[in-house]
Symmetry: C2
Subunit: 315 residues, 2 copies
C-alpha cells in the first residue's frame, strides 16, 4: 500500500467543505499552482468560495505565487464523489461532527482513486474513529491546519490505527512540498498537540479574569506585547533554552525550574467558561475591540501576519 | 504622597544591577535619551555593561533613537546609594533573592530622593514582602519586563500593600512615556500574570514530551509556526473572538467552549521537570539548535524581533 505518486506529480486537489477552513485551503492550493476540485453541500457556497479567494489573493500574491498559479483554476462539483474522482490529494474540511464526516467518507470511499490520500482538517475528532469500515481507510490521515490556513504554516499530521504509515509520511512530505510546516503527532489525543498548548494558555487567561488579575485587554497584551512576540520566533522549549543564558536549558533548569514548579502547583483549577465569567470576558473583548468589527480585526490580523511572515519566512 | 515629577521632567535613571536584565534596561533608557546611573556589585560589570550596550545599539538604532540619545551617557557608581542619589527614577534588577533585594533596599532607602520611584524587575518575588520597613516603601513598585527588555515592550506593574496608588499610576504612565507597553496587575500572585500564562503553556509543552506526542522540535514548531504567530498579533481572548467567526466571542463560546472544557479535563497533570524527562528535553533542544550556539540563537532572535517590531510597532 505504498504506491503513492511522487509529490511533484500532484496536479489536482479536491477540497471537500468550503467554509472558513476549506475556502482558505482552496486559496492556498491555487496560489501554489494546483487545480482545485471543490464541493460543499451548503446553499450559496460557490459565491462565498469565490469571494474568499478574491479577498485572499492579494495576500497570497504578497507572499509569492507559484509559477502558473491561477485563482480561476477551480472546478465546482455537485457531489463529493465527483470532486475526488480526478484528484491526486484530498483536503477534507467538513463540519466537526463524527456522523457528518463518516457519512461523507462512505460517500467518497468508492470514488477515491488508488494512491490518492485524504487528509482531514479535523481539530477535535480522532482519525481512528473516523476511518472505521472504509476500503480506503489506509489512505486517511489528519492534516490539521491553523486559522487561516492560507497564511499560517503549521499542519499537524496524525495517523489513525488503520492508516498506512507510508500515507502519513507521504502527507508530511506533501505539505512540506507545498510550502507548509507539517509536524508529526505520534499519538491520537483530544485536540492533537497545538490546540492543547493553546488551550493551556487560554485556560490560564480565563482564570486571570476569574481571579481579577487584570483587565481582559491587559491580559491579551500580557501575551501579544510580551511572550507572544517570542513565540512567533521560537517555541516554549527553545524559549527556555535562551532563558538559561550561556548555560542554556540546563541553566534554566537550575535557575527557573523550582520556581516554575511552584507556580504550577498554584495553577490547577479548571474554570467554567460560562455565565458571569463568560459575560465579563465578552464585555472585555468588546472594549478591547472598540470600534473595530470582526471583519476589520480579521483584515488587520491578516495584514500583520503577512508582514510577520515576510520577516520570518512562509513555511 | 503624590508629589511626583511630571514624566517629561525625568532626566536621570538609576539602573541597579546590570546583569542580563539590568544591562538591557540601561540600553533602552539610553536609547530613549536618558542619562543612566549604573551600579552592580559584581567584578568586571563595567566592561560587561559596555559590551552589552555596544551589541544592542544597532538594534536600538533600527527601532529609532530618541533625539539626543547617547550610548555613552552612563555614569558608573561605586555604591547603589550613590547611583540613586541623583536619579529621577530607579529600575532595580538585582538577583531574585528576597534577602539580597531587601538588603539593597535598606542601603538605598535613605538616599532615594523624594518623588523618585523605584521599580523592581522582579519576576518571582512579591513587593509586599520586599518593601516592609522602608521609609520610602510607598514609592516601591514592581515593573517586570520581558527578556530582552530593550526589545520586548511589555512591562507588568504591580503595587505592594504599602505602595502609594499614585506611585503605581505614575510608573504606568512613565513606562508608556518611554515607549513601553505597561499593564496593571491588580493582585500580588506568584509570577504576576504573563509568566503564569507562559508557565501554563510551558507545562503542557513539557507534558507533550512526557506523553511522547511529538519531538521537542515539532512541539516548538507547534507554537512558533502556528498559534505563536497569532499571539504576536493578539492575546488569547482576542484570538478566541476571531475563532468565533462573525458571531465573535459568543460564537466561540457556543462552538468551541464545550470541546475546550473537555480538553481541560484531560490537562490536569503537573510534570516533574527533572531526571529523564529533563534529559529528553535537553537532548531535543540541542538537536533543534543544531550547530547554533546560544549567542547565535540570541542574535537570530533579536534580529527577527526587530523585524517583527518593525511590522507591529515598538510600544
Amino acid at each position: 500500500m505504498s504506491d503513492y505518486p511522487d509529490h511533484t506529480q500532484v496536479r489536482r486537489i479536491a477540497v471537500l467543505g468550503t467554509g472558513t477552513i476549506g475556502a482558505s485551503w482552496a486559496a492556498w492550493f491555487l496560489a501554489r499552482g494546483y487545480a482545485v476540485d471543490a464541493w460543499d453541500p451548503a446553499g450559496g457556497w460557490e459565491q462565498r468560495l469565490a469571494s474568499f479567494i478574491e479577498t485572499a489573493w492579494p495576500h497570497l500574491e504578497a507572499l509569492g505565487l507559484a509559477d502558473g498559479a491561477d485563482r480561476a483554476a477551480v472546478t465546482l462539483h455537485p457531489t463529493a464523489a465527483a470532486a475526488v474522482a480526478g484528484a491526486d490529494f484530498v483536503q477534507e474540511s467538513a463540519p466537526e461532527r463524527l456522523d457528518v464526516k463518516r457519512a461523507l467518507y462512505r460517500d467518497i470511499d468508492p470514488a477515491l482513486p488508488a494512491g490518492t490520500i485524504l487528509s482531514s482538517s479535523t481539530s477535535g475528532l480522532i482519525m481512528s474513529e473516523l476511518q472505521e469500515g472504509l476500503d480506503s481507510a489506509g489512505r486517511f490521515v489528519v492534516g490539521h491546519p491553523f486559522n487561516p490556513p492560507h497564511l499560517i504554516p503549521l499542519v499537524e499530521v496524525v495517523a489513525g490505527r488503520r492508516t498506512d504509515p507510508n500515507a502519513a509520511d507521504w502527507a508530511i512530505g506533501f505539505y512540506r512540498h507545498v510550502g507548509k510546516h507539517p509536524i508529526r503527532i505520534r499519538k491520537e489525543v483530544p485536540g492533537h498537540l497545538a490546540n492543547r498548548l493553546q488551550a493551556a494558555l487560554f485556560r490560564e487567561a480565563v482564570l486571570a479574569v476569574q481571579y481579577g488579575l487584570a483587565s481582559v485587554e491587559d491580559i491579551d497584551a500580557a501575551v501579544s506585547r510580551g511572550p507572544g512576540l517570542r513565540w512567533a520566533l521560537m517555541g516554549p522549549h527553545m524559549t527556555m533554552n535562551l532563558a538559561g543564558g550561556a548555560a542554556g536549558y540546563r541553566g534554566m533548569l537550575g535557575h527557573f525550574a523550582p520556581g516554575m514548579q511552584a507556580w504550577w502547583e498554584t495553577m490547577t483549577e479548571n474554570p467554567v467558561l460560562a455565565g458571569e465569567l463568560a459575560e465579563t470576558i465578552v464585555a472585555g473583548v468588546e472594549e478591547e475591540a472598540g470600534e473595530r468589527s470582526i471583519e476589520e480585526l480579521e483584515a488587520e490580523r491578516d495584514a500583520r501576519l503577512i508582514g510577520i511572515l515576510g520577516v520570518l519566512g512562509r513555511g
